[in-house]
Symmetry: C2
């Protein structure tokens, strides 16, 4: 994707002069501060179509999809998606709060907060980006990002709604969903209902009490409490080989490694331990997260503290 090639007023070419700056750089040098290289009208239209929203100010689309690496070298003041992402995070927090508040008129504040967090969450929003192909329009020059996105897309299918901490979603994917939401908020003159209409469609189905699922570390600790066993999620091996071990009553039950983040390794080790314990006990004393939670409020209370960390 090279949006530069579509820019509306290219500076005069200087191909004869060997010392001349590349056209792209020269164009940027001449631009006022805060200038965002435009996206092509075709690309803008494609983004509008997938959002179901037509922008009055088309430059907001380009800004919302521009990663810092797109400018090489990055200069202080270059416009990236980050300011719109900040604003989008704010408006989503409000609108998801309201949706959950209205959907569950008797739900206490603890589960309300967890449902909000699950829906304005890095993995949930990264799924939204992938489901709708928003990532195809991200403007960047960081090859590593494409690798991370590809890895995430590959693993995504294993989890219907949310991995509950087993996947490491690339932040850039949730960022551009939030920045596009922020862009719509600005473009619509801060019309929260228009923002909600777009997000509601993109994020369907929202994570509900029934699909919230359990965090594996919390579920494992809960299992320990219920059955009187000593559960130890040991990170001693982390420094040497990025490994996390789970011991139950002193016996090594499962391990997991994940080089990038200790938390993901812990979650995966806890999940592996739970799977093993379930297999061993024939499901007798370890409950999996049920598809239909019979008593969702009681269950939520057990794993709230950890989930929000």
């Amino acid at each position: 994707m090279d949006p530069q090639s579509h820019s509306q007023s290219p500076p005069p070419a200087a191909e004869d002069d060997p010392d001349a700056m590349p056209r792209e750089q020269q164009q940027r040098e001449e631009a006022p501060p805060g200038y965002v290289p435009p996206m092509s009208p075709e690309e803008v239209a494609a983004v509008e179509a997938l959002l179901g929203y037509e922008f009055k100010d088309k430059s907001l689309v380009g800004e919302a999809l521009t990663h810092g690496s797109f400018y090489l070298p990055y200069r202080s003041g270059d416009s990236t998606y980050e300011r719109l992402e900040y604003l989008g995070d704010g408006v989503l927090t409000c609108l998801v709060s309201r949706e959950v508040f209205l959907t569950y008129p008797d739900l206490p504040p603890g589960p309300l907060t967890r449902l909000r967090a699950a829906n304005v969450d890095k993995e949930k929003l990264a799924r939204v980006a992938v489901d709708h192909g928003i990532n195809r329009f991200l403007r960047h020059k960081a090859p590593k990002l494409e690798e991370q996105i590809a890895d995430f897309v590959k693993e995504l299918g294993q989890y219907e709604y949310h991995s509950n901490g087993l996947l490491d979603a690339p932040k850039v994917l949730s960022d551009i969903v939030e920045s596009l939401i922020g862009a719509i908020y600005v473009d619509s003159k801060y019309n929260q209902e228009q923002v909600w209409q777009v997000f509601r469609n993109l994020a369907d189905p929202l994570i509900s009490l029934e699909t919230l699922g359990k965090h594996p570390v919390s579920e494992l600790l809960e299992f320990g409490q219920k059955t009187g066993r000593i559960v130890d999620i040991s990170k001693d091996g982390w420094v040497k080989d990025t490994k996390v071990d789970v011991f139950v009553d002193g016996v090594l039950v499962a391990s997991a490694t994940y080089a990038q983040k200790k938390e993901i390794a812990s979650n995966r080790a806890a999940k592996a331990a739970l799977d093993k314990l379930k297999e061993m006990s024939g499901q007798s004393d370890v409950q999996s997260a049920p598809a239909e939670a019979p008593e969702p409020l009681d269950e939520l209370d057990h794993y709230g503290a950890l989930e929000l960390q």
Copy 2:
């Protein structure tokens, strides 16, 4: 304050029967789930006057000002301010995000986020409650809350805008500002402009880049980096005597105790150390937070990570 005495339909008195429940309790037993004991019309009008907002549904005022301790014993389903507080937090996050976004059109996301956090902050909102006397209308039966509020009010005057972590604001005070904001959001049929008008007046002046100030722990660590000294904020004494010590190049410079929270003790110890270092150096190498920040962006970058913890 005894709103029960103003309730509109008192049950028949049963004063002759020594085994009879107190009237308040009996009234509650007979009420449907989710019932909120009403506030008197005089009290509702006083709250409306200080908010500058007239409620269509007056019961929201009572709900927004009812602490769980008001019900003794508390039964699952009793209505407290917590659901409205959750909603108010969501809408404030959005509206303060927008205000900061519009006020500082060139500010990077880091400082934007810190300004938002400073204005939707426990101490800032607790100040709003005290400044407008909202706490006088809180309905509770926890004498300890009054003590905590009184202590906070006593110390508040020492800091013009914000103590940056030196004061331990009672959460209940920020909670009822958020719950009243949530109540207005519901009552106005989710009209964010009406909510903003009320909050903008209550919270004036909002914390700005100029008044954001520095977090003492961050400032102390920054001082260490700048001057090549080894700063150690030691919490070893915490268990024994709730004391935090600050060592600079191995020399004890200052200590502070605060029985309730280690974090507040650390902040106070860091502040005491900074004051001492400034005195010793005649201000030569330790900079206080200036009233007019000459280069606010650069300065903010140094202490962002800690401030948001």
